[in-house]
Protein backbone atom coordinates (compact mmCIF):
# COMPACT_ATOMS: atom_id res chain seq x y z
CA UNK A 1 0.00 0.00 0.00
CA UNK A 2 1.45 3.36 -1.01
CA UNK A 3 1.50 6.34 1.28
CA UNK A 4 -0.94 9.16 0.45
CA UNK A 5 1.98 11.53 0.10
CA UNK A 6 5.64 10.68 0.06
CA UNK A 7 8.37 13.27 -0.33
CA UNK A 8 11.96 12.05 -0.42
CA UNK A 9 14.84 14.48 -0.06
CA UNK A 10 12.93 17.26 -1.82
CA UNK A 11 15.01 20.42 -2.27
CA UNK A 12 14.30 23.61 -4.12
CA UNK A 13 16.23 26.84 -4.50
CA UNK A 14 14.86 30.17 -5.78
CA UNK A 15 17.86 32.27 -6.76
CA UNK A 16 19.82 32.87 -3.57
CA UNK A 17 17.13 31.40 -1.34
CA UNK A 18 17.11 27.72 -0.46
CA UNK A 19 13.34 27.36 0.01
CA UNK A 20 13.48 23.64 0.82
CA UNK A 21 16.50 21.76 2.14
CA UNK A 22 16.02 18.06 1.51
CA UNK A 23 12.59 17.47 3.01
CA UNK A 24 11.49 13.90 3.80
CA UNK A 25 7.86 13.46 4.65
CA UNK A 26 5.34 10.63 4.54
CA UNK A 27 1.62 11.05 5.08
CA UNK A 28 -0.39 7.85 5.38
CA UNK A 29 -3.82 7.35 3.87
CA UNK A 30 -6.67 8.68 5.97
CA UNK A 31 -4.52 11.01 8.07
CA UNK A 32 -5.44 14.57 9.00
CA UNK A 33 -1.97 16.04 8.74
CA UNK A 34 -0.84 19.50 9.76
CA UNK A 35 1.99 21.39 8.08
CA UNK A 36 3.03 24.30 10.27
CA UNK A 37 5.74 26.89 10.09
CA UNK A 38 6.33 30.63 9.93
CA UNK A 39 6.06 32.60 6.70
CA UNK A 40 8.83 31.58 4.35
CA UNK A 41 9.40 28.21 5.99
CA UNK A 42 8.71 26.47 2.68
CA UNK A 43 5.18 25.15 3.23
CA UNK A 44 3.76 26.55 0.01
CA UNK A 45 6.83 25.50 -1.99
CA UNK A 46 6.40 21.94 -0.73
CA UNK A 47 2.71 21.95 -1.62
CA UNK A 48 3.48 23.42 -5.05
CA UNK A 49 5.93 20.60 -5.71
CA UNK A 50 3.32 18.01 -4.72
CA UNK A 51 0.83 19.70 -7.07
CA UNK A 52 3.26 19.98 -9.99
CA UNK A 53 3.15 23.80 -9.92
CA UNK A 54 6.83 23.92 -9.01
CA UNK A 55 9.55 21.45 -9.85
CA UNK A 56 11.98 20.19 -7.25
CA UNK A 57 15.70 20.62 -7.92
CA UNK A 58 16.34 17.24 -6.35
CA UNK A 59 14.30 14.51 -4.73
CA UNK A 60 11.02 12.89 -5.63
CA UNK A 61 7.42 13.26 -4.56
CA UNK A 62 4.62 10.76 -5.00
CA UNK A 63 0.86 10.90 -4.49
CA UNK A 64 -0.47 7.42 -3.65
CA UNK A 65 2.58 5.96 -5.35
CA UNK A 66 2.38 8.11 -8.51
CA UNK A 67 5.38 10.32 -9.18
CA UNK A 68 4.31 13.97 -9.55
CA UNK A 69 6.60 14.49 -12.57
CA UNK A 70 6.85 11.21 -14.48
CA UNK A 71 3.28 10.08 -13.77
CA UNK A 72 1.72 13.52 -13.34
CA UNK A 73 -1.64 12.61 -14.86
CA UNK A 74 -2.46 10.05 -12.19
CA UNK A 75 -0.81 12.07 -9.43
CA UNK A 76 -2.93 15.13 -10.24
CA UNK A 77 -6.16 13.13 -10.51
CA UNK A 78 -5.58 11.90 -6.97
CA UNK A 79 -4.82 15.32 -5.52
CA UNK A 80 -7.07 18.29 -4.76
CA UNK A 81 -5.39 21.57 -3.86
CA UNK A 82 -6.95 24.66 -2.29
CA UNK A 83 -4.46 27.41 -3.11
CA UNK A 84 -3.54 30.12 -0.68
CA UNK A 85 -4.14 33.05 -3.03
CA UNK A 86 -7.74 34.13 -3.47
CA UNK A 87 -7.95 33.67 -7.25
CA UNK A 88 -10.97 33.32 -9.54
CA UNK A 89 -11.98 33.62 -13.18
CA UNK A 90 -14.17 36.73 -13.52
CA UNK A 91 -15.85 35.46 -16.69
CA UNK A 92 -17.90 32.74 -15.02
CA UNK A 93 -20.59 31.95 -12.47
CA UNK A 94 -19.99 29.71 -9.45
CA UNK A 95 -21.62 26.71 -11.13
CA UNK A 96 -19.76 27.29 -14.40
CA UNK A 97 -16.49 27.56 -12.47
CA UNK A 98 -17.07 24.18 -10.83
CA UNK A 99 -18.33 22.49 -14.02
CA UNK A 100 -15.35 23.76 -16.01
CA UNK A 101 -12.89 22.65 -13.34
CA UNK A 102 -14.54 19.24 -13.38
CA UNK A 103 -14.22 19.10 -17.16
CA UNK A 104 -10.47 19.78 -16.96
CA UNK A 105 -10.25 16.46 -15.12
CA UNK A 106 -12.24 14.86 -17.94
CA UNK A 107 -15.35 14.52 -15.78
CA UNK A 108 -18.48 15.78 -17.51
CA UNK A 109 -22.07 15.45 -16.25
CA UNK A 110 -20.91 15.96 -12.68
CA UNK A 111 -23.98 17.95 -11.62
CA UNK A 112 -25.05 15.76 -8.70
CA UNK A 113 -21.68 16.04 -6.99
CA UNK A 114 -21.41 19.75 -7.82
CA UNK A 115 -24.84 20.31 -6.20
CA UNK A 116 -23.63 18.45 -3.12
CA UNK A 117 -20.46 20.55 -2.95
CA UNK A 118 -22.50 23.75 -3.31
CA UNK A 119 -24.79 22.58 -0.52
CA UNK A 120 -21.98 21.66 1.89
CA UNK A 121 -20.15 24.93 1.22
CA UNK A 122 -23.36 26.91 1.67
CA UNK A 123 -23.15 28.27 -1.88
CA UNK A 124 -26.40 26.92 -3.35
CA UNK A 125 -28.02 30.36 -3.31
CA UNK A 126 -25.03 31.81 -5.16
CA UNK A 127 -24.72 29.05 -7.77
CA UNK A 128 -25.63 31.33 -10.66
CA UNK A 129 -23.93 34.47 -9.39
CA UNK A 130 -20.85 35.75 -11.20
CA UNK A 131 -17.60 35.07 -9.34
CA UNK A 132 -16.87 38.80 -9.32
CA UNK A 133 -19.93 39.52 -7.17
CA UNK A 134 -18.93 37.17 -4.32
CA UNK A 135 -17.42 38.19 -1.00
CA UNK A 136 -13.91 37.06 -0.10
CA UNK A 137 -15.19 34.27 2.12
CA UNK A 138 -17.45 32.96 -0.63
CA UNK A 139 -14.64 33.02 -3.18
CA UNK A 140 -12.55 31.04 -0.72
CA UNK A 141 -15.30 28.42 -0.48
CA UNK A 142 -15.53 28.19 -4.27
CA UNK A 143 -11.79 27.46 -4.25
CA UNK A 144 -12.44 24.63 -1.81
CA UNK A 145 -15.20 23.39 -4.11
CA UNK A 146 -12.90 23.52 -7.14
CA UNK A 147 -10.38 21.35 -5.31
CA UNK A 148 -13.08 18.74 -4.65
CA UNK A 149 -14.84 18.46 -8.04
CA UNK A 150 -12.89 15.37 -9.06
CA UNK A 151 -13.33 13.66 -5.66
CA UNK A 152 -9.61 13.46 -4.94
CA UNK A 153 -8.56 10.98 -2.21
CA UNK A 154 -5.82 13.38 -1.07
CA UNK A 155 -6.73 17.00 -0.32
CA UNK A 156 -4.24 19.76 0.43
CA UNK A 157 -5.49 22.99 1.95
CA UNK A 158 -3.02 25.87 1.99
CA UNK A 159 -4.31 28.21 4.71
CA UNK A 160 -7.94 27.79 3.68
CA UNK A 161 -9.49 29.81 6.49
CA UNK A 162 -7.57 33.04 6.01
CA UNK A 163 -10.19 35.78 5.73
CA UNK A 164 -13.14 33.48 6.44
CA UNK A 165 -15.34 34.53 9.36
CA UNK A 166 -15.74 32.35 12.46
CA UNK A 167 -19.14 30.85 11.66
CA UNK A 168 -18.13 29.85 8.15
CA UNK A 169 -14.81 28.55 9.41
CA UNK A 170 -16.69 26.17 11.69
CA UNK A 171 -18.92 24.88 8.89
CA UNK A 172 -15.94 24.55 6.58
CA UNK A 173 -14.11 22.46 9.16
CA UNK A 174 -17.18 20.32 9.75
CA UNK A 175 -17.20 19.58 6.02
CA UNK A 176 -13.45 18.85 5.88
CA UNK A 177 -13.78 16.59 8.94
CA UNK A 178 -16.57 14.70 7.21
CA UNK A 179 -14.35 14.24 4.15
CA UNK A 180 -11.61 12.92 6.43
CA UNK A 181 -14.05 10.50 8.11
CA UNK A 182 -15.10 9.32 4.65
CA UNK A 183 -11.51 8.29 4.04
CA UNK A 184 -9.93 11.34 2.40
CA UNK A 185 -6.41 12.20 3.45
CA UNK A 186 -6.21 15.84 4.48
CA UNK A 187 -3.06 17.95 4.59
CA UNK A 188 -3.53 21.35 6.11
CA UNK A 189 -1.29 24.36 6.46
CA UNK A 190 -2.56 27.04 8.75
CA UNK A 191 -1.47 29.99 10.81
CA UNK A 192 -4.18 29.30 13.37
CA UNK A 193 -2.47 26.89 15.73
CA UNK A 194 -5.67 26.16 17.63
CA UNK A 195 -7.08 24.93 14.32
CA UNK A 196 -4.21 22.50 13.84
CA UNK A 197 -4.52 21.43 17.47
CA UNK A 198 -8.23 20.74 17.11
CA UNK A 199 -8.06 18.94 13.76
CA UNK A 200 -4.73 17.33 13.02
CA UNK A 201 -3.54 13.92 14.16
CA UNK A 202 0.06 14.35 13.09
CA UNK A 203 1.99 17.53 12.62
CA UNK A 204 5.16 18.51 10.78
CA UNK A 205 6.83 21.80 11.60
CA UNK A 206 8.90 23.47 8.92
CA UNK A 207 11.56 26.06 9.56
CA UNK A 208 13.83 27.58 6.92
CA UNK A 209 13.04 24.79 4.46
CA UNK A 210 13.59 21.91 6.88
CA UNK A 211 11.32 19.65 8.87
CA UNK A 212 12.28 20.47 12.47
CA UNK A 213 9.55 18.41 14.16
CA UNK A 214 7.37 15.59 12.95
CA UNK A 215 5.22 13.65 15.34
CA UNK A 216 1.72 13.01 16.58
CA UNK A 217 0.09 15.98 18.21
CA UNK A 218 0.10 14.22 21.61
CA UNK A 219 3.80 13.39 21.37
CA UNK A 220 4.64 16.98 20.43
CA UNK A 221 2.59 18.31 23.32
CA UNK A 222 4.14 15.93 25.84
CA UNK A 223 7.67 16.28 24.51
CA UNK A 224 7.72 19.88 25.58
CA UNK A 225 7.16 19.80 29.32
CA UNK A 226 3.56 19.07 30.02
CA UNK A 227 2.99 21.83 32.58
CA UNK A 228 3.79 25.41 33.37
CA UNK A 229 3.25 26.95 36.81
CA UNK A 230 2.29 30.57 36.96
CA UNK A 231 3.51 31.85 40.35
CA UNK A 232 3.13 35.31 41.82
CA UNK A 233 5.75 35.69 44.59
CA UNK A 234 8.61 37.96 45.58
CA UNK A 235 11.20 35.39 44.52
CA UNK A 236 11.72 31.78 43.45
CA UNK A 237 13.41 29.16 45.66
CA UNK A 238 17.17 28.96 45.08
CA UNK A 239 17.09 25.45 43.56
CA UNK A 240 14.30 26.39 41.11
CA UNK A 241 15.96 29.40 39.48
CA UNK A 242 17.04 27.31 36.48
CA UNK A 243 13.48 26.18 35.79
CA UNK A 244 12.06 29.69 35.31
CA UNK A 245 10.93 29.98 31.70
CA UNK A 246 9.89 33.59 31.84
CA UNK A 247 9.56 36.34 34.39
CA UNK A 248 7.12 39.17 34.16
CA UNK A 249 6.77 41.80 36.95
CA UNK A 250 6.71 39.52 39.99
CA UNK A 251 5.11 36.67 38.07
CA UNK A 252 7.27 33.64 37.35
CA UNK A 253 6.53 30.94 34.78
CA UNK A 254 8.15 27.70 35.89
CA UNK A 255 8.32 24.55 33.75
CA UNK A 256 7.37 21.20 35.35
CA UNK A 257 7.94 17.76 33.89
CA UNK A 258 5.07 16.15 35.76
CA UNK A 259 2.48 16.88 38.43
CA UNK A 260 4.69 15.30 41.15
CA UNK A 261 7.17 18.16 40.68
CA UNK A 262 4.53 20.54 42.00
CA UNK A 263 4.87 19.04 45.52
CA UNK A 264 8.63 19.58 45.48
CA UNK A 265 8.12 23.18 44.38
CA UNK A 266 5.58 23.83 47.16
CA UNK A 267 7.93 22.24 49.72
CA UNK A 268 10.81 24.45 48.59
CA UNK A 269 8.61 27.55 48.84
CA UNK A 270 7.59 26.57 52.38
CA UNK A 271 11.17 25.80 53.46
CA UNK A 272 12.42 29.18 52.24
CA UNK A 273 9.43 30.97 53.73
CA UNK A 274 8.27 32.50 50.45
CA UNK A 275 4.65 33.67 50.50
CA UNK A 276 2.53 32.62 47.52
CA UNK A 277 0.56 35.55 46.07
CA UNK A 278 -1.09 33.47 43.40
CA UNK A 279 -0.49 30.08 41.83
CA UNK A 280 -1.98 28.51 38.70
CA UNK A 281 -1.19 25.49 36.55
CA UNK A 282 -1.31 25.71 32.75
CA UNK A 283 -1.13 22.85 30.28
CA UNK A 284 1.14 23.27 27.29
CA UNK A 285 -0.71 23.97 24.06
CA UNK A 286 0.49 23.70 20.48
CA UNK A 287 1.31 27.37 20.34
CA UNK A 288 3.89 27.01 23.13
CA UNK A 289 5.35 23.95 21.40
CA UNK A 290 5.50 25.87 18.16
CA UNK A 291 7.22 28.85 19.73
CA UNK A 292 9.77 26.68 21.47
CA UNK A 293 10.59 24.72 18.31
CA UNK A 294 10.86 27.86 16.27
CA UNK A 295 13.19 29.27 18.92
CA UNK A 296 10.92 32.18 19.66
CA UNK A 297 11.97 34.09 16.56
CA UNK A 298 9.67 34.88 13.70
CA UNK A 299 10.29 33.96 10.06
CA UNK A 300 13.90 33.27 9.26
CA UNK A 301 15.31 36.46 7.74
CA UNK A 302 15.73 36.77 4.01
CA UNK A 303 13.33 34.03 3.03
CA UNK A 304 10.28 35.40 1.26
CA UNK A 305 7.09 33.39 1.18
CA UNK A 306 7.17 31.44 -2.08
CA UNK A 307 3.90 31.85 -3.93
Amino acid sequence: MSAAVEAVNVARRFGPVQALVGVDLTVEEGEFFGLLGPNGAGKTTLISILAGLTRADTGTARILGHDVVTDYRNARRLLGVVPQELVFDPFFTVRQTLAIQSGYFGIRHNDAWIDEILHHLDLTAKADANMRSLSGGMKRRVLVGQALVHKPPVIVLDEPTAGVDVGLRQSLWAFIRKLNRDGHTIILTTHYLEEAEALCGRIAMLKAGQVVALDTKQALLSRFAGLTVRLAAERVPEAWRGRVLRQDAGIFFIGLDRYADLEALLAALRTEGIAIGELALQETDLEQVFLRIMGGDRAAPGIPEAA
Binding site: L53, R76, L79, V81, V87, Y104
Partner: protein, 258 residues
Protein backbone atom coordinates in the same frame (compact mmCIF):
# COMPACT_ATOMS: atom_id res chain seq x y z
CA UNK B 1 -8.12 4.61 -9.69
CA UNK B 2 -10.43 7.30 -10.97
CA UNK B 3 -10.04 7.66 -14.73
CA UNK B 4 -11.44 10.72 -16.42
CA UNK B 5 -11.66 11.47 -20.12
CA UNK B 6 -9.69 14.14 -21.94
CA UNK B 7 -9.64 17.59 -20.40
CA UNK B 8 -8.86 19.66 -23.48
CA UNK B 9 -12.45 19.88 -24.84
CA UNK B 10 -13.44 21.72 -21.66
CA UNK B 11 -10.46 24.05 -21.93
CA UNK B 12 -11.44 24.76 -25.54
CA UNK B 13 -15.03 25.38 -24.44
CA UNK B 14 -13.77 27.78 -21.77
CA UNK B 15 -11.62 29.60 -24.34
CA UNK B 16 -14.61 29.99 -26.67
CA UNK B 17 -16.93 31.09 -23.86
CA UNK B 18 -14.34 33.64 -22.76
CA UNK B 19 -14.34 35.59 -26.02
CA UNK B 20 -17.99 34.92 -26.78
CA UNK B 21 -19.04 36.60 -23.51
CA UNK B 22 -17.32 39.78 -24.67
CA UNK B 23 -18.09 39.40 -28.38
CA UNK B 24 -18.80 43.09 -28.77
CA UNK B 25 -15.14 43.73 -28.15
CA UNK B 26 -13.67 40.54 -29.59
CA UNK B 27 -15.71 40.17 -32.78
CA UNK B 28 -17.68 43.32 -33.64
CA UNK B 29 -14.86 45.77 -32.92
CA UNK B 30 -12.34 44.18 -35.32
CA UNK B 31 -15.02 43.86 -38.01
CA UNK B 32 -15.73 47.58 -37.72
CA UNK B 33 -12.01 48.41 -37.87
CA UNK B 34 -11.59 46.43 -41.08
CA UNK B 35 -14.60 48.11 -42.60
CA UNK B 36 -13.02 51.51 -41.90
CA UNK B 37 -9.75 50.40 -43.51
CA UNK B 38 -11.66 49.32 -46.60
CA UNK B 39 -13.70 52.53 -46.84
CA UNK B 40 -10.68 54.79 -46.51
CA UNK B 41 -8.07 52.88 -48.48
CA UNK B 42 -10.33 51.93 -51.36
CA UNK B 43 -11.67 55.47 -51.59
CA UNK B 44 -8.22 57.03 -51.62
CA UNK B 45 -6.34 54.43 -53.68
CA UNK B 46 -8.88 52.90 -56.07
CA UNK B 47 -7.91 55.16 -58.98
CA UNK B 48 -4.17 55.23 -58.24
CA UNK B 49 -3.15 51.62 -57.65
CA UNK B 50 -3.00 48.91 -60.26
CA UNK B 51 -2.80 45.33 -59.06
CA UNK B 52 -2.30 42.09 -60.99
CA UNK B 53 -1.80 44.14 -64.16
CA UNK B 54 -5.22 45.75 -63.87
CA UNK B 55 -7.07 42.42 -63.90
CA UNK B 56 -8.51 43.03 -60.43
CA UNK B 57 -9.99 46.29 -59.08
CA UNK B 58 -8.13 47.56 -56.01
CA UNK B 59 -11.08 47.34 -53.60
CA UNK B 60 -11.64 43.69 -54.57
CA UNK B 61 -7.90 43.06 -54.12
CA UNK B 62 -7.98 44.71 -50.72
CA UNK B 63 -10.84 42.64 -49.26
CA UNK B 64 -9.01 39.28 -48.98
CA UNK B 65 -6.03 41.11 -47.49
CA UNK B 66 -8.20 42.69 -44.81
CA UNK B 67 -10.01 39.42 -44.12
CA UNK B 68 -6.73 37.58 -43.67
CA UNK B 69 -5.26 40.37 -41.55
CA UNK B 70 -8.29 40.15 -39.23
CA UNK B 71 -7.98 36.38 -39.02
CA UNK B 72 -4.29 36.64 -38.09
CA UNK B 73 -4.54 39.48 -35.61
CA UNK B 74 -7.51 38.04 -33.76
CA UNK B 75 -6.07 34.56 -33.56
CA UNK B 76 -2.95 36.06 -31.99
CA UNK B 77 -4.94 38.29 -29.67
CA UNK B 78 -7.05 35.42 -28.37
CA UNK B 79 -4.42 33.00 -27.15
CA UNK B 80 -1.99 35.68 -25.98
CA UNK B 81 -4.52 37.71 -24.00
CA UNK B 82 -6.23 34.67 -22.50
CA UNK B 83 -2.96 33.31 -21.17
CA UNK B 84 -1.58 36.60 -19.87
CA UNK B 85 -4.89 37.43 -18.17
CA UNK B 86 -4.84 34.06 -16.43
CA UNK B 87 -1.26 34.65 -15.36
CA UNK B 88 -1.90 38.12 -14.01
CA UNK B 89 -5.17 37.13 -12.27
CA UNK B 90 -3.50 34.03 -10.89
CA UNK B 91 -6.27 31.76 -12.15
CA UNK B 92 -3.83 29.95 -14.43
CA UNK B 93 -3.51 27.62 -11.44
CA UNK B 94 -6.91 26.11 -12.34
CA UNK B 95 -5.37 24.88 -15.60
CA UNK B 96 -2.04 23.85 -14.08
CA UNK B 97 -3.51 21.68 -11.30
CA UNK B 98 -5.55 19.26 -13.49
CA UNK B 99 -3.93 16.45 -15.51
CA UNK B 100 -3.87 18.48 -18.75
CA UNK B 101 -0.88 17.47 -20.89
CA UNK B 102 1.24 19.93 -22.89
CA UNK B 103 -0.57 18.70 -26.02
CA UNK B 104 -3.97 19.26 -24.33
CA UNK B 105 -3.02 22.87 -23.53
CA UNK B 106 -1.66 23.43 -27.04
CA UNK B 107 -4.71 22.01 -28.83
CA UNK B 108 -7.24 23.90 -26.69
CA UNK B 109 -5.54 27.32 -26.81
CA UNK B 110 -4.69 27.16 -30.52
CA UNK B 111 -8.11 25.82 -31.54
CA UNK B 112 -9.78 28.56 -29.49
CA UNK B 113 -7.62 31.17 -31.24
CA UNK B 114 -8.41 29.67 -34.66
CA UNK B 115 -12.15 29.82 -34.06
CA UNK B 116 -11.94 33.45 -32.94
CA UNK B 117 -9.77 34.37 -35.95
CA UNK B 118 -12.00 32.57 -38.45
CA UNK B 119 -15.23 33.97 -36.97
CA UNK B 120 -13.87 37.52 -37.19
CA UNK B 121 -12.56 36.84 -40.71
CA UNK B 122 -15.97 35.60 -41.78
CA UNK B 123 -17.56 38.70 -40.26
CA UNK B 124 -15.18 40.99 -42.14
CA UNK B 125 -15.81 39.07 -45.36
CA UNK B 126 -19.57 39.38 -44.90
CA UNK B 127 -19.60 43.16 -44.46
CA UNK B 128 -16.98 43.90 -47.11
CA UNK B 129 -18.75 41.77 -49.72
CA UNK B 130 -21.04 44.73 -50.15
CA UNK B 131 -18.13 46.58 -51.79
CA UNK B 132 -16.93 43.71 -53.95
CA UNK B 133 -19.78 41.22 -54.45
CA UNK B 134 -17.93 39.49 -57.27
CA UNK B 135 -15.64 37.91 -54.65
CA UNK B 136 -18.37 35.39 -53.88
CA UNK B 137 -17.48 33.72 -57.17
CA UNK B 138 -14.00 32.84 -55.95
CA UNK B 139 -12.39 30.17 -58.14
CA UNK B 140 -10.57 28.22 -55.41
CA UNK B 141 -12.51 28.48 -52.12
CA UNK B 142 -10.66 25.54 -50.55
CA UNK B 143 -7.29 27.17 -51.10
CA UNK B 144 -8.62 30.27 -49.35
CA UNK B 145 -10.03 28.23 -46.49
CA UNK B 146 -6.83 26.20 -46.18
CA UNK B 147 -4.67 29.32 -45.86
CA UNK B 148 -7.10 30.91 -43.40
CA UNK B 149 -6.98 27.77 -41.22
CA UNK B 150 -3.18 27.51 -41.38
CA UNK B 151 -2.70 31.25 -40.83
CA UNK B 152 -4.97 31.27 -37.79
CA UNK B 153 -3.15 28.21 -36.41
CA UNK B 154 0.24 29.91 -36.83
CA UNK B 155 -0.89 33.12 -35.15
CA UNK B 156 -2.69 31.23 -32.40
CA UNK B 157 0.58 29.42 -31.77
CA UNK B 158 2.55 32.68 -31.79
CA UNK B 159 0.02 34.09 -29.33
CA UNK B 160 0.59 31.08 -27.11
CA UNK B 161 4.36 31.62 -27.25
CA UNK B 162 3.86 35.31 -26.38
CA UNK B 163 1.52 34.40 -23.52
CA UNK B 164 3.92 31.79 -22.14
CA UNK B 165 6.94 34.08 -22.25
CA UNK B 166 5.26 37.30 -21.08
CA UNK B 167 4.90 38.19 -17.44
CA UNK B 168 3.17 41.53 -17.97
CA UNK B 169 0.56 42.94 -20.35
CA UNK B 170 3.01 45.37 -21.95
CA UNK B 171 5.24 42.51 -23.06
CA UNK B 172 2.28 41.19 -25.06
CA UNK B 173 1.77 44.65 -26.61
CA UNK B 174 5.45 44.80 -27.50
CA UNK B 175 5.23 41.41 -29.21
CA UNK B 176 2.16 42.63 -31.07
CA UNK B 177 3.50 46.05 -32.03
CA UNK B 178 7.08 45.12 -32.90
CA UNK B 179 6.63 41.70 -34.48
CA UNK B 180 3.06 40.90 -35.51
CA UNK B 181 2.03 44.33 -36.84
CA UNK B 182 5.15 44.99 -39.00
CA UNK B 183 5.07 41.47 -40.43
CA UNK B 184 1.37 41.86 -41.25
CA UNK B 185 1.59 45.32 -42.79
CA UNK B 186 4.69 44.44 -44.83
CA UNK B 187 3.15 41.24 -46.15
CA UNK B 188 1.09 42.70 -48.97
CA UNK B 189 -2.23 43.21 -47.23
CA UNK B 190 -2.63 46.57 -48.95
CA UNK B 191 -0.53 46.05 -52.08
CA UNK B 192 0.89 43.47 -54.45
CA UNK B 193 4.61 43.10 -53.80
CA UNK B 194 5.25 43.44 -57.55
CA UNK B 195 4.59 47.15 -57.07
CA UNK B 196 7.54 47.37 -54.65
CA UNK B 197 11.17 48.26 -55.52
CA UNK B 198 13.33 45.11 -56.01
CA UNK B 199 15.00 45.34 -52.58
CA UNK B 200 11.69 45.32 -50.72
CA UNK B 201 10.32 42.61 -52.99
CA UNK B 202 13.25 40.39 -52.04
CA UNK B 203 12.83 41.20 -48.37
CA UNK B 204 9.11 40.38 -48.52
CA UNK B 205 9.99 36.84 -49.57
CA UNK B 206 11.50 36.31 -46.12
CA UNK B 207 8.24 37.25 -44.42
CA UNK B 208 6.08 34.16 -43.82
CA UNK B 209 2.99 36.36 -43.52
CA UNK B 210 3.44 37.29 -47.18
CA UNK B 211 2.85 33.65 -48.20
CA UNK B 212 -0.26 33.39 -46.01
CA UNK B 213 -1.86 36.39 -47.63
CA UNK B 214 -0.67 35.63 -51.16
CA UNK B 215 -1.97 32.06 -50.92
CA UNK B 216 -5.25 33.24 -49.44
CA UNK B 217 -5.69 35.73 -52.26
CA UNK B 218 -5.04 33.01 -54.83
CA UNK B 219 -8.26 31.39 -53.64
CA UNK B 220 -10.20 34.53 -54.56
CA UNK B 221 -8.63 35.46 -57.91
CA UNK B 222 -6.69 32.48 -59.16
CA UNK B 223 -3.80 34.96 -59.34
CA UNK B 224 -0.84 35.24 -56.97
CA UNK B 225 2.65 36.71 -56.67
CA UNK B 226 4.23 33.30 -56.08
CA UNK B 227 2.89 29.81 -56.93
CA UNK B 228 0.28 28.76 -54.31
CA UNK B 229 1.94 25.37 -53.81
CA UNK B 230 5.10 27.14 -52.70
CA UNK B 231 3.12 29.31 -50.29
CA UNK B 232 1.39 26.24 -48.90
CA UNK B 233 4.72 24.47 -48.33
CA UNK B 234 6.23 27.48 -46.56
CA UNK B 235 3.16 28.24 -44.44
CA UNK B 236 2.71 24.55 -43.57
CA UNK B 237 6.39 24.28 -42.64
CA UNK B 238 6.17 27.37 -40.41
CA UNK B 239 3.09 25.93 -38.72
CA UNK B 240 4.83 22.66 -37.94
CA UNK B 241 8.03 24.31 -36.72
CA UNK B 242 6.22 26.76 -34.45
CA UNK B 243 3.97 23.98 -33.09
CA UNK B 244 7.02 21.89 -32.24
CA UNK B 245 8.66 24.86 -30.51
CA UNK B 246 5.50 25.64 -28.51
CA UNK B 247 5.06 22.04 -27.41
CA UNK B 248 8.67 21.97 -26.27
CA UNK B 249 8.12 25.16 -24.25
CA UNK B 250 4.97 23.73 -22.67
CA UNK B 251 6.77 20.49 -21.83
CA UNK B 252 9.63 22.34 -20.18
CA UNK B 253 7.20 24.25 -17.96
CA UNK B 254 9.13 27.43 -18.76
CA UNK B 255 7.46 30.47 -17.13
CA UNK B 256 4.39 28.40 -16.30
CA UNK B 257 5.58 25.91 -13.69
CA UNK B 258 8.31 27.45 -11.58
Amino acid sequence: MTQGGAGWPTLLYKELLRFWKVSFQTILAPVLTSLLYLLIFSHVLEANVTVFGGKVPYSAFLVPGLVMMSVLQNAFANSSSSLIQSKINGNLIFILLPPLSPLDLFVAYVAGAMVRGLVVGLGVFAVTLFFAPSLLLMPHPFWALGFAVLGSAILGTLGLIAGISAEKFDQISAFQNFIIMPLTFLSGVFYSIHTLPPFWQTLSHFNPFFYMIDGFRYGFFGLSDVPPMMSLAIVGGCCLALSALTLALLRSGWRLRY
